[in-house]
């Protein structure tokens, strides 16, 4: 038997057509062309996405021990611990509610001011909650995998946040998963501004999960330790006004043309398990103004037809818009009281809907219901 096995093996090795080197060369050329095509063109994106669909369960399986451990940990964590946590969460909820009340007042004020300015910018972005399912195994890149993909409306370039700040952006979308490039990756930069005085800068990742650096900040610029950096929205990629980092270090070196400014990201980049995917309004300001005007006219006409004074479109009626009225139906129904972070039923279709009664200046529902973004 053994002899025949060896015989078979040897026959197989020596009877192969092209030699080993030629086959390696062939495969190398194939790989090289694949790499070039993948880097330069979009042809391979669907292939990738489908392969990702098949291989995503692997990430899920690799994460299983972690999940199991967490479940066990939750099961056996003592009662006192849970009571303590509950107390803490209650206190936190109270604090958040207080802030929310303030936010409600501010939102209302903002809406009114925008009405005065005749612009109807989106006050609040919509969000989708995703869960971390994997971390890039390469320690030199900072990327994570989340459990929401094309089927949930995630798109390339979408901003990703956690509870305390911006985390990064989506760089690859698979059907049921997406890859997120974090702010601290060496290939990532984000336009920011100092919250205190509006000074603009670019925050560049350093490859260290606890550090960002500001590029080309003049030595005399008014920036100091403890300044909060928020996204400026200038790159057209991230929405403006989200916290990005806190300045930890400003070094003025007379040998350097620019000041060296280091900052630590506010988001818990290597600790967060839940992330928020933001859907900002893709329309230009002109389109928004147009849509708002149309919605206003519509509301006025309806009001005139029914003989009642023009009433603000209530959140309930925005969700259940009459089909015959020609009002843009399909807007994500905003249920009163959904002030929490959970707004996961947002489909891309509703995003693309042009006009939004909820956003119309005249149609301003109670502000607390507006802030479904839950910030």
């Amino acid at each position: 038997m053994a002899w025949r096995f060896e015989d078979e093996t040897i026959k197989r090795i020596f009877s192969k057509g092209p030699s080993l080197g030629v086959r390696l060369l062939g495969l190398a050329v194939l790989s090289a062309s694949l790499m070039v095509v993948d880097a330069r063109f979009d042809y391979l994106k669907p292939v990738r996405s489908e392969l990702g669909l098949i291989l995503t369960p692997l990430y899920w399986a690799a994460d299983l021990p972690m999940r199991a451990w967490e479940t066990v940990h939750d099961q056996f964590s003592s009662r006192t611990e849970i009571i303590a946590e509950n107390e803490r969460l209650k206190a936190e909820a109270l604090l958040m509610q207080r802030r929310l009340q303030k936010l409600a007042a501010l939102t209302e004020q903002n809406v009114r001011l925008r009405e005065l300015l005749n612009s109807a910018a989106l006050v609040d972005d919509k969000v989708l909650v995703g869960e971390l399912i994997g971390v890039d195994p390469n320690p030199f890149t900072h990327r994570i995998l989340i459990d929401k993909g094309a089927k949930d409306g995630v798109f390339v370039g979408q901003p990703v946040l956690d509870a305390s700040g911006l985390m990064g952006q989506v760089v690859e979308v698979m059907p049921y998963a997406a890859r997120v490039l974090l702010l601290t990756d060496v290939t990532h930069s984000i336009p920011v501004q100092v919250n205190r005085n509006g000074l603009r800068a670019i925050a560049v990742g350093t490859g260290n999960p606890e550090r960002l650096e500001l590029r080309h900040v003049a030595d005399t610029a008014d920036i100091k330790e403890g300044d909060l950096l928020v996204s400026s929205g200038l790159g057209q990629r991230f929405p403006a006004g989200y916290p990005v980092a806190t300045v930890t270090d400003v070094v003025h070196d007379s040998g350097q043309p620019f000041a060296i400014v280091r900052a630590v990201p506010t988001a818990k980049l290597n600790r967060s398990r839940y992330v928020l995917l933001v859907f900002s309004d893709p329309r230009t300001p002109e389109e928004r103004a147009n849509d708002a005007a149309q919605a206003q006219e519509e509301a006025d006409r309806k009001a005139a037809a029914s003989g009642t004074p023009a009433a603000p479109v209530s959140p309930g009626s925005a969700g259940t818009a009459q089909p015959g009225a020609g009002a843009p139906a399909g807007q994500a129904p905003v249920k009163p009281g959904t002030t929490s972070v959970s707004a996961p039923e947002i489909s891309p279709a509703t995003q693309k809907k042009p006009a939004a009664p909820v956003q119309a200046p005249a149609a301003s529902p109670a502000p607390a219901e507006r802030s479904q973004g839950g910030r």
Partner: protein
């Protein structure tokens, strides 16, 4: 009929998928830098043991799978794994008769070369690790090789894979 071609091939595929799983399994941060090249090691074993079953094309396809998992350019890990299998196949006659520690030594060089190619490709796409630590995985893999070899050989004889 132990010599029959294609006996218990599922064991091979199971170990290779396990290799894929291990290569993305979450690890503590400080160990991340020396993550062993599991897939390369498993492929090496099967190439040494059953060169007629596992070869360049298997390596290439698994490399593609790894690329998709890692989010690299398609073909990057494919070419690296093919290189590993190529080197192992061309050294196969000698490697098979070496004692295990000597195999480890040769494999250290082979994996080191693979990591170098990986480094070049990574530099092309723009993220270059700052120091020589990118060679760490090859060292860890070479040190782990004897155990991987013994476990897989045990599996092979137990399931009579051929």
């Amino acid at each position: 009929m132990g010599w029959r071609i294609g006996h218990n091939g599922w064991v091979i595929w199971l170990t290779l998928i396990l290799g894929l799983l291990l290569s993305i399994a979450p690890m503590p941060d400080f160990m991340e830098i020396g993550r062993p090249l599991w897939l390369a090691m498993f492929l090496t074993f099967w190439t040494l043991a059953l060169p007629h079953r596992v070869g360049l094309s298997t390596a290439w396809l698994l490399g593609l799978a790894e690329d998709v998992l890692y989010g690299n350019l398609l073909g990057q890990n494919a070419v690296v794994l093919s290189l590993v299998v190529f080197l192992v196949q061309s050294l196969q006659q000698r490697l098979r008769v070496f004692p295990i520690w000597q195999q480890s030594g040769v494999l250290l060089v082979v994996y080191g070369l693979a990591q170098l190619v990986q480094l070049w490709l990574n530099t092309l796409t723009g993220n270059r690790p700052p120091t020589l630590v990118f060679l760490m995985p090859s060292l860890v893999s070479a040190l782990l090789w004897p155990w991987v070899y013994l476990v897989l050989r045990d599996l092979r004889t137990r399931f009579n894979v051929s």
